[in-house]
């Protein structure tokens, strides 16, 4: 402020200016000095809080005002002294919260400490904004429930529609067989038309049902290990009548060792059938090829690529642009010539996306089309229930839960304040890592939301420090990030993960989930860098395990001499005195230590020989640089579990 002061103003003028500014503000403002006495305020403050005139500007303190408001019933049934304590506890930190006054007015309260002691409180009337938000939420809920009703109706209807259709199709086929036996070819042809029309109608009903389920978010995935050769065989038998119909031939190029893929079998089959039936439909006396191949991506995840190629009519660029949109066909004459609803590809694309894959198309008008589906192996996809957070539960929210928002971006503070304030959370604000740690030590919050990318001290470092500080390590942390360093976060002990832009409902629910939570085995950490040990220790302890530390191989051996074998050893390779290789050599020769699971942490690029040395003696090699350290958290608990499961058997 002082550097923006106009040197030509007299004290009186300056005072008048300040007064005018205060009185013209759209907010209520109150300033308190270092001993919490009210020194300056504006009219709006008096009106918003309905403060009696005689109460203002005396030597009453902040606490007197809070007690006065409390006695007047301003905090409902809440205990006045508790309310006061809550407020006093955070006065040294910028904070904000929302409060509904007895007359229904919604106030946003913000308090910021001022340099030299004291603080300023700013009250904003957000009643209108709240009402608008409420109206929007209500409208959204109404729309959602209407959509639920619609999809339930469709599901029921489609059952009702399918039962008679089954009869129509079945009996027409029965009669067609009779007609065939009698040699009545005229009837046979007509009966086959009835059957074909019935099957067509059934296909449409099924597609509409699928789409409505997808749109209602009701489509579920069942990930299992799918034997690809068998699945392809089944698809071949299902589509071969379609292929033959237009005089096409089906070529399947599937390597004998194609193996298995963890994915949803039914959805995979449906996608392939859709693509193959399109290829068959839009190709005459040509070839349709289904080709499978495997590759491994940058992150070591296996993928299988399914390529459906035809020599049919193909599509123009413009037609390709409209593809994958519900109810659109390449051009309006398609329906006339080929039938169909234009839902097949839409559904296929949805399924592929649900399975974590991609679908692409290349086509030349008149020459043919190639549709390529790339599906990743869905290893480690937990049963979906695990990810479900009860949002309604979150909405009910706990008051008096303190959330520290750590972000260098003001917009994030604004968004989160608007979302969380409404739920009754008390929000603390910090703009960088150092400030965040200071605030945490002063006023331990119940939950911390932590931005990953911040200048100077970034989110990971803050997390690392928190998890190695006994005072802070149990505070649940929600990492906010645009990039997917999800695994790194978990490995460092983040309880949950969220990506930006922030899904507010999920965040609210998450915070609810995290404000209550907690398992015991020892992990021996061997590394010469105390910082690295600190971070790993935090990870270990936050996974509910005990950590023991050693600075090199020799110290680790000494520790082993004096203690029961740990559940797991985390081992650095490059260390003074005794390095990781030597340590491994030594312990593998001692019977009682020889089967302690060992995880090697390394920043060293390993030679082939070193790699094989380690492969024989350790469970897994993790790198300290780059992403692989990301799997540490998961590896830790999995390994400790394995260690514990192995031990009792070893005793027998």
């Amino acid at each position: 402020m002082s550097d923006t002061k106009n040197q030509n103003l007299s004290a009186a003028q300056e005072h008048a200016l300040l007064r005018a500014t205060l009185e013209n503000m759209a907010q209520g403002v109150a300033m308190y000095d270092a001993s919490h006495r009210l020194v300056t305020w504006n009219e709006r403050f008096r009106i918003y809080l309905e403060m009696p005139d005689e109460f203002l500007g005396t030597d009453r303190t902040f606490s007197d005002y809070i007690r006065y408001l409390g006695e007047r019933g301003e905090f409902g049934d809440a205990d006045i002294e508790t309310e006061l304590k809550k407020r006093l506890a955070v006065l040294e930190t910028s904070h904000s919260f929302e409060r509904v006054r007895p007359d229904g007015m919604v106030l946003e309260v913000r308090r910021d400490p001022v340099p030299g002691g004291g603080f300023i409180a700013i009250y904003t009337d957000i009643t209108e904004r709240k009402q608008a938000e409420l109206a929007i939420r209500k409208a959204k809920e109404d729309a959602e429930s209407a959509s639920k009703v619609k999809s339930a109706f469709l599901a029921n209807m489609s059952h009702e529609l399918r039962t008679p259709l089954n009869a129509i199709i079945g009996y027409s086929e029965l009669l067609a067989e009779d007609a065939g036996d009698r040699g009545d070819s005229a009837s046979l042809a007509d009966l086959e038309k009835i059957g074909a029309a019935g099957r067509h109608l059934l296909g449409l009903i099924n597609e509409i049902l699928d789409l409505s389920k997808i749109e209602a978010g009701k489509m579920e995935l069942y990930i299992e290990k799918v034997a690809l050769a068998a699945a392809v065989d089944e698809v071949r038998s299902l589509v071969s009548p379609l292929i033959e119909k237009n005089g096409n031939t089906l070529v399947i190029e599937c390597p004998a060792d194609i193996g298995a893929l963890r994915t949803d079998l039914t959805k995979l089959k449906q996608c392939l059938i859709n693509l193959l039936s399109n290829a068959a439909k839009f190709t005459k006396s040509g070839a349709v090829t289904l080709r499978l191949s495997r590759y491994v991506d940058d992150e070591d995840a296996p993928h299988v690529v399914f390529e459906v190629r035809d020599s049919g009519i193909g599509m123009t660029e413009e037609q390709i642009g409209r593809l994958f949109q519900a109810f659109t066909q390449a051009d309006s004459s398609t329906t006339r010539n080929f039938g169909g609803t234009g839902l097949g590809l839409t559904i296929t694309r949805h399924f592929v996306t649900m399975l974590g894959g991609t679908i692409t198309v290349t086509s030349t008008s008149g020459l043919g089309s190639t549709f390529t589906v790339d599906l990743p192996d869905r290893a480690g996809v937990a049963p979906h229930e695990d990810h479900v957070i009860d949002v309604d539960d979150g909405m009910r929210a706990a008051s008096a839960v303190t959330v520290l928002i750590v972000d260098d971006d003001d917009a994030v503070h604004d968004v989160l304040s608007a979302t969380l304030g409404r739920e009754g959370y008390l929000l603390l604000h910090a703009r960088d890592g150092a400030e965040a740690l200071a605030v945490m030590r002063r006023t331990p919050p119940d939950v911390v939301t932590l931005d990953v990318r911040m200048p100077k001290v970034d989110g990971w470092s803050v997390l690392g420090v928190m998890k190695s500080d006994p005072e802070l390590q149990n505070i649940p942390v929600v990492m906010l990030t645009i990039v997917d360093d999800r695994n790194l976060g978990f490995s460092l002990g983040a309880s949950e993960f969220m990506t930006k832009p922030i899904d507010r409902n999920r965040l609210t629910a998450l915070l609810r989930k995290l404000t209550s939570s907690t398992k015991n085995a020892t992990v021996l950490i061997v590394d010469d860098e105390p910082d690295v040990r600190g971070v790993i220790k935090g990870t270990v302890e936050s996974a509910g395990m005990k950590a023991a530390e050693a600075g090199n191989g020799r110290a680790a051996l000494q520790w082993l001499e004096g203690n029961a074998p740990p559940a797991l050893i985390l081992l650095d390779l490059m260390m003074p005195e005794m390095d990781g290789f030597e340590f491994l050599e030594k312990i593998r020769k001692v019977e009682r230590w020889s089967d302690i699971p060992t995880v090697v942490l390394t920043a060293k690029d390993l030679s082939e020989r070193e790699r094989s040395f380690l492969a024989e003696r350790t469970l897994l090699v993790l790198s300290k640089t780059g992403q692989p350290i990301g799997s540490l958290g998961a590896a830790l608990s999995a390994l400790a579990r394995r260690g514990q499961a192995v031990k009792p058997q070893a005793k027998e």
Binding site: H159, R162, L174, N206, Y222, L238
Partner: protein
């Protein structure tokens, strides 16, 4: 001697239609109209194979299959689940309940006969 099939289906038209088509393909067909009856007839009729509709009254097809597979006297009888539309949850649930194969209605009789023969070890 013809192969005996236990067809479990609650919808009368579907039962009539499918049984006639199976008969025509040289099978002997006995029928149950609900899950309870299916479990009882699996034991009393000793069919070579069971075709089980999944949405059945009294006890549903999944539970009936579980009971058939839990009884040592009937556990070796192959069960083919029949459901309306290829829905992932149905197919996975059917296999979890112990069904040996799965097909969707309306059945393609040649394909179904193929599956029956495969399960009975006939080409």
């Amino acid at each position: 001697m013809p192969v005996k099939i236990l067809l479990v289906e609650d919808n009368e038209m579907n039962r009539d239609m499918l049984s006639r088509r199976l008969l025509r393909n040289g099978f002997e067909v006995v029928m149950a109209v609900d899950g309870g009856q299916a479990v009882a007839m699996a034991a009393s009729e000793s069919p070579a194979i069971i075709l089980m509709d999944m949405s059945l009254p009294v006890i549903d097809g999944w539970e009936a299959t579980r009971q058939v597979k839990a009884n040592p006297a009937t556990s070796s009888i192959p069960v083919i689940a029949l459901t309306a539309h290829a829905m992932a949850e149905d197919e996975a649930k059917a296999r979890a309940a112990g069904c040996d194969d799965f097909d969707t209605k309306p059945v393609d009789i040649q394909r179904l006969v193929g599956k029956i023969n495969a399960l009975l070890g006939k080409a």
